[in-house]
Amino acid sequence: MKDNRPVNLDIGTIRLPITAYASILHRVSGVIMVVASFLLLWALEQSLASPEGFASLGELLANPLVKFVVWGIATALIYHSLAGVKHLIMDFGIGETMEGGTLGARLVFGFTAVSAVLVGVALW
């Protein structure tokens, strides 16, 4: 085989449709949530263990880095949930056309952006 033949599927040179970004972000946000679940469980344990534990979470949230991490987790969860609901709707055969897929992806991105700002306002 000649190894200087042109590469067909060089994904970096292809302009992907918005549905492709919606799909891969659903995957990325899902993996983020698997890791984040550890922190959520830890927070649940702290918050229920004692009044001091509960208060210490509030104090932790004053740290800008912690704020950012919580914001990131919330945004990943919101995106994953909205894209997940879109999945469930499409499983019922609704919006399975190219136009439907594009519209769905736009709606999910739009609602996530608005929610991310709202969570940011609530945190800061």
């Binding site: 995957r27 899902g30 993996v31 949530m33 698997v34 679940s37 550890f38 469980l41 649940l44 344990e45 918050s47 229920l48 009044p51 509960f54 208060a55 969860l77 949930s81 997940g84 609901v85 999945h87 469930l88 499983d91 609530a122």
Partner: protein
């Protein structure tokens, strides 16, 4: 397929359905807890909520759903990328290793969750 042995139910159709049912349970739980937190809770209100049997059951149901949902989800991710085709035989070793690690972590989440909610 040798990859099927590490799937949750050994059946793609069943995994697909479990993935969806657990998604709805997780969504309900996160919306409920999210609304509680967003409206502001005191320690007393928060512990009173989790002291109720229905909330303990709801929480444990959510953690069990998380384990099944993430098991199926991560199986899909690992069997897509960590394969013999993409990585040679290294792919098989890496995939099985990470799958074991993931499954073990999820089982630990469940045990930990029981201990948090019921201890």
């Amino acid at each position: 397929m040798v990859t099927a042995v590490t799937s949750l139910s050994r059946s793609g159709l069943s995994d697909w359905l479990v993935q969806r049912v657990t998604a709805v349970i997780l969504l309900a739980f996160f919306v409920f807890v999210g609304v509680q937190i967003a409206s502001g809770v005191s320690y007393a209100e928060w512990t009173a909520l989790f002291a109720q049997t229905w909330m303990k059951i709801f929480t444990l149901l959510a953690i069990l759903s998380l384990a099944a949902h993430a098991w199926i989800g991560m199986w899909g991710v690992f069997t897509d990328y960590l394969t013999e085709r993409l990585m040679g035989s290294r792919g098989n070793v890496l995939r099985i290793g990470l799958q074991l690690l993931t499954s073990l972590s999820l089982v630990i989440y469940v045990i930990w969750g029981i201990q948090i909610v019921w201890a």
